[in-house]
Amino acid sequence: MNRIKFQYIFFAFAIFLGATIFLLYHNFLETEKYIQKLILQEDLRELRQTTDNIKRHLLRIIPPHIDFYTYLQTHPDVYKDIQKDLELFIIDKYKFIYLLEPVDKDRFRFLVDTSRNDRASFGELYTPLEPQEYHTLSPHYFFHKELKNIWLTYINPVVEHGKIKALIVIDFSLEQAHLIEKSLKTLENFLSGLILFLSGLIAIMVLFAYFDYKRERKMVQAYEKLEKLNKELEHRVEEKIKELRKKDAIILNQSKLAAMGEMINMIAHQWRQPLNAISVSAINMQIEANMGLSNPQSIEENAKMIQQQAQLMSRVIDDFMDYARPEKKKERFDVKEMVEEVLKMIEPQLKNHNISIVLDLAQDLYIESYKKDLEHVLLNLLSNARDALDECGKEPKKIIIKAYKEKDRIKIEVKDNGCGIPKHIQERIFEPYFTTKEQGKGTGLGLYMSRKIVREKLKGDLFFESFDTGTTFIIEL
């Protein structure tokens, strides 16, 4: 957008520049005319003064009421004096100074001529090119039609009683004025050329700016389009994220349900033994009562046994309740203790499946993390190992749990000696709803949720190594 604003400024500047150049040129032409006019005015003023001086001089010498021709004809000495006097007025700019007397409308007669090379004789008839210009009662000038660029003729008449007695004529050289005019013309031509060049340059610049503007506009339009697309995409992504969150919530819910099922299963395993013991005590009490063998001591022993077993069952419930309670704060705990607590929950079940547990847990391996979530993941890995060992059928079934520190990272390994994960499904085992277990046994959410918990909440990683000899899942924190 800034670029476009700049181009507007550029256009405005080009127009301003063009207008300035035009005004300058116009101003120059006006000045040129003014100078030419001024030069002419100055020359005419000078001519007027000169001819007035001559006129005054003549009127002083020649008496009134006598025509000049007759007087000069009869007074040759005056004629010579006047000729010499007029010669004094000659300067470079005055080509010819002469006195004429009108004869008729076309012809005149020379009275005095000061020219050196082209001197007319006294009384010589003269036919000028524009005779009408000479019949004037006031000072007058004209440019020659044929000799326009060479000189102008200035005429100052000597008038007596409304009659022209003589004409003081000066052929004034325009050479100097033309030199100035020529210089001005050269300057004007140069200025015209410069203006033409600048105009061309401005035109090119404007053209360039116009195309640049168009290109910029296209870019802005493309950018706007892109922005719109981006917004659409953002919207879509948001929608997708919402959808995924919904899905995640469903998965989480399903995962919780699955975990709950697993927990119930484990509680059922844990309760089986105390329930048997309670049942045995109850049967003993019933048999002793039926046989009349019951005595307060045996009743007390059986009741104590039932009480103990009931307490054991209650502890199991507490443990599981504690495990299932959501956790919001990190806590510092010993990894070994955490593993043992998990084992307490699942070990009876593992034993029931003839699976032996081997522990290789480093001492004093403390970590600050979400304990319950880690327990949840570990429990899930142990359940998977159990199912994998059952499915494989290899004997003896064994799970090795290792916990150790490596390069500032704590690693917890769950290794089984099963048959390993087939290569073709290795890439998919962390996908949600992916399971190899028979229908109704697995949800396909365990590993997906475990990795999600480790990566997103515990800020660690969960990965695996699998061979024919078994699979190792590694939690790295």
Binding site: F96, Y98, D106, R107, S115, D118, A120, S121, E124, L125, Y126, T127, P128, L129, E146, L147, I150, W151, D171
Partner: protein, 127 residues
């Protein structure tokens, strides 16, 4: 037709491009009252008279109707300077420049002696 042409004489005279050749071609037959004029002149002016339908160049001045140039001869002369025009008795007219302006003058006294009356269209140049 000749008179029509003559009306243009001043213009012809003063037009530098047209020059002297056109002047003599229109002026001389009118002055001499002949369709073909025998002219005596110096070789430098021969090109002015190369129109055979109007002029015949003669080798002796006595054979001519009119002498062109400032040449001393007993025949009527058409001079090329005011000085010659004003001093020579046989000069009937002249053409010269004064103050950059072309001047055509005819000396009536001499002209009438040789050719009688002057064509009215040339009266304005008569002295």
């Amino acid at each position: 037709m000749k008179k029509m042409i003559l009306l243009f004489v001043p213009l012809v005279l003063f037009a530098h491009i047209v020059g002297l050749k056109e002047l003599v071609q229109t002026l001389f037959p009118l002055l001499v009252h002949k369709r073909i004029v025998k002219v005596y002149t110096s070789p430098s002016f021969f090109p002015l008279f190369d129109d055979n339908s109007t002029f015949v160049l003669v080798e002796e001045c006595n054979q001519s109707d009119l002498v062109f140039g400032d040449i001393n001869c007993s025949k009527p002369i058409f001079g090329l300077s005011y000085r010659f025009f004003s001093t020579h008795p046989n000069v009937i007219g002249a053409f010269y420049y004064r103050k950059g302006r072309p001047q055509l003058v005819i000396k009536m006294k001499s002209y009438e002696k040789y050719f009688g009356h002057l064509d009215p269209s040339l009266q304005r140049y008569a002295q």
